[in-house]
């Protein structure tokens, strides 16, 4: 993938792909807005929001930020560290669950 592209003069690609991605971003944004507008609730809501969000983020990084044409060394160096944030997310998620439980117990006994 990265080996085939050795640009001397930066990232130059046909305009068509940008317009296609641009249109897709509009479609995906409309979709995620409709999730709220049509009052989709529960697990379906979270699933749809996350899917549309990741699709948009992926398209922006891959095409608009040219990541799909960069060398693998850069791709791994940039994209691996943010993935580790997920571990932090899991930690804080369990921590806030614990805080919620202790608060609930405390406020129940205080009143």
């Amino acid at each position: 993938m990265a080996e085939t592209d050795t640009h001397v003069e930066g990232q130059q690609h046909p305009l068509g792909i940008y317009f296609k991605i641009w249109a897709w971003l509009f479609v995906l944004s409309t979709c995620s807005y409709m999730v709220d507008y049509l009052h989709v609730q529960g697990y379906l809501r979270w699933t749809l929001i996350i899917i549309f969000m990741l699709a948009k983020a992926g398209l922006i990084v891959a095409v608009f930020m040219h990541m799909m044409w960069e060398r693998l060394a850069l791709l791994y160096a940039i994209l691996t560290p943010p993935v580790l944030v997920l571990i932090f997310t899991a930690l804080m998620s369990s921590e806030s669950g614990y805080t919620f439980v202790t608060r609930t117990i405390f406020f129940a006994t205080a009143s």
Binding site: Q11, L15, W22, L25, F26, A73, P81
Partner: protein, 219 residues
């Protein structure tokens, strides 16, 4: 992975400015991740009901309030500006000075419109609905602090982006990058790669908004 071995340049064919911008963006990713994480933590640990964003950010044009409509318009504006930015990068490498400058200015104008709408949104929340960083009439007090922190920091990024877009548009217009004019700060010969670096920053701001939109407004 051979790129990482000894006596190799790690990022082949990547201009230093672009590599540095990417590294800055990674650090910025962490900053916004931490904001969103702390937002997640306070929201899921509070025992008070969280204000309903769909209703808080509703706007009525004379009739029934339409939920989140301003935020949706802001999202579309930011995506549009991303599109004009990517075209500016492309025309920059084609040395089409006029189109590049116009597209950069269009991107800056969309960015400014975004910040303007955000200012309107903040004014509405602060003046009309009495939302403060420490309290608000709708529910959990943490709503205000996380909202102003996250959107404020994002709006600041957009503002700085607009400023640099205007500076770059002026330089493109003058033809600095055709003549390889040296920058006043780095004293290096300027070329159209700077537009791509600027583009990375601008798309990143759009990217952050994608996450804020999903987690703060839709959740």
């Amino acid at each position: 992975m051979g790129d990482w071995s000894s006596d190799q340049r790690a990022f082949k064919n990547v201009p230093w400015g672009k590599a540095m911008m990417w590294i800055f963006l990674v650090s910025d990713t962490f900053i916004f991740s931490i904001f969103l994480l702390s937002y997640m933590t306070v929201r899921s640990s509070t025992t008070v009901a969280w204000p309903h964003p769909s209703e808080v950010f509703a706007l009525s044009f004379g009739g029934e309030p339409i939920p989140l409509i301003l935020i949706a318009i802001m999202t579309f504006i930011l995506i549009t500006s991303s599109g004009t930015m990517v075209l500016a990068v492309n025309y920059g490498y084609r040395k089409d000075r006029f189109r590049t400058a116009v597209l950069l200015l269009a991107t800056a104008a969309f960015g400014a419109a975004f910040v303007g709408m955000q200012a309107f949104e903040w004014t509405k929340l602060i003046v009309e609905e009495g939302v403060r960083p420490w309290t608000n009439p709708m529910g959990a007090a943490q709503f205000g602090s996380t909202f102003f922190m996250i959107t404020g920091f994002h709006g600041f990024h957009v503002s700085i982006g607009v400023l640099f877009l205007i500076i770059l548009a002026r330089k493109v217009w003058r033809g600095d990058y055709d003549r390889g004019q040296r920058g006043f700060f780095t004293s290096r010969k300027g070329n159209y790669e700077i537009i791509e670096t600027m583009g990375l920053y601008w798309h990143f701001v759009d990217l952050v908004w994608v996450f804020i939109f999903a987690f703060f407004y839709l959740w």
